[in-house]
Symmetry: C2
Subunit: 244 residues, 2 copies
Amino acid sequence: MIGLGAAVVARKLATHSRLTSAAQAALGPFLGHARDFRRGALIAQAGDPPNVISIVKSGVACRMTMLPTGARQIHAILLPGDAADVEASLLARRSDSIQALSNCAIWPVPSRRLADLPRADEGLAEAFLREATVNAEIAREWIVNLGRRTADQRIAHLLCELCTRMDVMGVGKDGAYPFIFTQMDIADAQGLTAVHVNRVMKMLKARGLITLKARVLTVLDRRGLERLGLFDPTFLHQGRAAAA
Amino acid sequence: MIGLGAAVVARKLATHSRLTSAAQAALGPFLGHARDFRRGALIAQAGDPPNVISIVKSGVACRMTMLPTGARQIHAILLPGDAADVEASLLARRSDSIQALSNCAIWPVPSRRLADLPRADEGLAEAFLREATVNAEIAREWIVNLGRRTADQRIAHLLCELCTRMDVMGVGKDGAYPFIFTQMDIADAQGLTAVHVNRVMKMLKARGLITLKARVLTVLDRRGLERLGLFDPTFLHQGRAAAA
DNA sequence: CGAAAAATTGAGGGATCTCAATTAAGGTGG
DNA sequence: CCACCTTAATTGAGATCCCTCAATTTTTCG
């Protein structure tokens, strides 16, 4: 069902770009066929030539850096429909890695195919460019998060970001979202330790903001969570009203 | 002397892209004429429509976010030749601001002019795209810095980054670099307080790694500074060997 | 079902912050 | 070019947030 899978990407791109039906049709052949990865597997590694774009078909992945000390820092969470390394072909080699945070299916699209895309569908090519831009925007927000927010705020902010992104993709209902992250994943994303993440999550539950059970996150008080995390609900939507 | 000023940008772009002499010639008209800003002035503000690219002719600027709490987080330092918002025209409005950290001269280039650039010089347009990509790369490194390094390491890493970028641009000699940053600027870039930055700088001086006098930073032990900051001297050079 | 991974909890330490005061530097007007 | 005034740097003391280490329980997965 390549067609079905491609719909995920179409929906994601549609969150910030207008896609013609021609563009949607071009998407299937563009993506090709997906590859499966087990949780923890490296989808791309630092040092690799960046000649492949990774697009998530299902599951969750991340971009991250392993430090010589063994510490991991996650820079971005990749949900279904998200694309990584759209622009990377412009560099000589990749400096970070992509890792599966759950079992997942990834489309590995040769960057050459992206380079040829404008000839097939100009609008689709621009949509991918916008995708990269939105991702850069999110990266800046992460810098703010890490630099100027407390642990409570950081985690609340991350949860809000993820929920907002899932909302837009139609994932989760009634404030209940699939949540495959380990407390260590969250720690590595927010510059904390797993132990401290545990204590913060406990507090979030105690305050009646969230519930977490059987890998399902339920947001009981979205407004409260946003207030705690100083989350601006509009920041991820910017791309939506983008020109043309 | 528009031609002379444009040479700064040509040199910057040449650090990661090959520029033909035709591209260099196209640069002057592309940039137009610069505007002056005083230290502290806002060059662009959150909420503005992102229809202008800011390119630094002289002085130092930064991209930053002001939080509702009044705190500032800097996401990027813009040195002469650096371009900000190359990709931003794809969004509806900017979410961060650009601020002058010293008196500086900025070329405000209408994004429309960038959109038209491929028709004038394909290679030059690609060079600007690569510029944006390298900047995204640096942003990711900042995330690692903020998330997984101590205050000592962060500051050492930032100093190494700045020195490396100035080296490439031919700014500073014999390990002496112009340094207009306030300790609060460094704090706001690295998620620290000015007081703590002061103590770390004192330590760096005590260890014989640097000297700072009359707005001139002298790096006495570059290797030592890099080791302390876990700085990988190759990370900024990636663009250099970029394809085509 | 059993082994491995993840979550949870406690105790204690350290890095960084906050508050506050003082000194040094820089910029401006006379 | 000096005097003044504002801004930046410096230093101290005490408080906090988050980390480290370690043990235990719970959950997940093969």
